[in-house]
Symmetry: C2
Subunit: 204 residues, 2 copies
DNA sequence: GAAAGCATACCATCCAGTTGGTATGGAGGC
DNA sequence: GCCTCCATACCAACTGGATGGTATGCTTTC
C-alpha cells in the first residue's frame, strides 16, 4: 500500500511465470537460471532461496502450469451445454479458439518440457506426466456420460479417448512449430473435432 | 581390410547417427559436442572439420533423419496392397509396429528437436519442418487415390489428413514420454487408425 | 605433394550452485 | 509500549567445472 515498488505478486510466482514463458520459447536446457531471474526481476540469491535447484523450479512450474490451465478450463464457458456430448465437443472447440496467439504463448509448457527431459530428469517427467494426466482426467466424466447416452456398446475406451484429445493437441503444437504457423494447429484440431463427433454418434 | 579398427562408416555418418540417438534421449541443448564425439568415437577436431558449428550438425542430422526414415518407409511391406485405402491403413499399422522398442529409439528426432529450437534456431526449425512435411507428402498420393475411390465428395483436405498422421504420431510420442510407457503411444495410434478407416469409408 | 581427414591442446565464456550477508516483520518477554 | 530474537525474503559477488569453438600439426589418400 505504501510502496509502489512492492511487486504485485511475490518473487516465487514471478519466477514460475517467467519459466512458463521462457521454457516454452527456448526450451529447458537453453533457459539459464540467470535469464529466469532477469525475466522475473529477481536476483540469483532469491532464486535459490525459493528453489533448491533449477530442477526443483521445473517441478514447481509444472504444478503451476496445471493450476493455471486448470483454472482457465474450469472458468471457460464450454461447461454450459446440458448434453455431455455437447460439452466434449465444446471443449475441443474451446481449445481451438486458444490457438489464436503466437506459438510460444499458446503451446503447452509440460509437453515441451517432458519431450526434452523425459529420460534424464525423472522428477520433471513425473510432474509433467501428472499435469497431462490430470488435464485428461477432467474430460473423462463428460466422455463417459456421452458414451453411455449415445454409443454405450462402442469398443473404445473412455480414458483413451480423453488422452487422445491431449495427444492431438500436443502433436498439433509440434507440427505447427515445424511449420512456423499456428493456423496449421487449428486445421489439425479440426480432425480431432470430427473424430470425436463421429465416435459419439453426432449426426452432422 | 587390414585394420579392424577401421570404422565401418565414416566419421561424419557416425556423428550424425550419434546425434539421432543422443538428442532423442537428452534433447538438443543438453547434448554437448563432447558427448557427440565420444559416442561417435571421434575427436573434437574431427567434429569441427565436418561441421562448421553444432547447429550445422543439427541441420545435417535432420536431413539424415529424413533419409533414414524415408528409406525405412520406402522399404516397408505396406506398399504391397493394391487398394490405395489399404495402403494408407497399412502405413498406420506399420507405424504402430515401430512402437515396440524403448521410447528413445522409436520417437521422432525432428519432432523432439523442433519443439526445442523452433523459436531460437530458424535454420534447424526449417530443416525439421522440411523433414516432417516431406514425410507427410509421401502419403498424399495414396490418400488422394483412396478419397477419389471411396469418398470423392468428402469435405476434408488430403494434405491436411496426411499431416494429421504425423500430428497424432508426434503427440503420441509426447504423451508416451510423459507416461514413461510406449504402450500408451500404441493405444493413441489406434485412434488414428480408426479415424482414417472411418474417413475413407472402411466398413469394419 | 597437396588436400582431406583426423588428433591434441587450448581458450573465452557461460553455467548452476555457493557464500556470506542485509532488510523486514512478527512473536514473545518484560 | 518497547526491545530482543529469529525466521523469511532477498541480494551481490564469487567459484569450479563444463561448453562451443579455435589453432595447429600429423597422417592417410589420391
Amino acid at each position: 500500500m505504501d510502496h509502489r515498488s512492492a511487486p504485485a505478486v511475490d518473487a516465487r510466482t514471478r519466477l514460475l511465470d517467467a519459466a512458463l514463458d521462457l521454457v516454452r520459447a527456448r526450451g529447458w536446457a537453453a533457459t539459464s537460471v540467470d535469464e529466469l531471474c532477469a525475466a522475473a526481476g529477481v536476483t540469483k540469491g532469491s532464486f535459490f532461496h525459493h528453489f533448491k535447484t533449477k530442477e526443483a523450479l521445473g517441478v514447481a512450474a509444472a504444478v503451476h502450469w496445471g493450476d493455471v490451465t486448470g483454472a482457465l478450463v474450469a472458468g471457460a464457458a464450454y461447461h454450459r451445454p446440458a448434453d455431455p456430448r455437447d460439452r466434449v465437443l465444446a471443449y475441443i472447440d474451446f481449445r481451438a479458439t486458444l490457438l489464436a496467439d503466437d506459438l510460444a504463448s499458446c503451446t503447452c509448457f509440460v509437453g515441451t518440457l517432458v519431450q526434452e527431459v523425459h529420460a534424464t530428469h525423472p522428477a520433471l517427467r513425473d510432474a509433467c506426466g501428472a499435469a497431462i494426466a490430470g488435464h485428461a482426467a477432467t474430460l473423462e466424466a463428460d466422455i463417459a456420460a456421452a458414451k453411455a447416452a449415445y454409443c454405450p456398446t462402442a469398443d473404445w475406451d473412455v480414458a483413451s479417448l480423453a488422452l487422445f484429445t491431449q495427444t492431438v493437441l500436443q502433436g498439433a503444437f509440434v507440427v505447427a512449430k515445424a511449420a512456423g504457423d499456428v493456423t496449421v494447429a487449428r486445421g489439425q484440431v479440426a480432425h480431432l473435432r470430427r473424430y470425436a463427433g463421429m465416435l459419439l454418434g453426432e449426426t452432422r
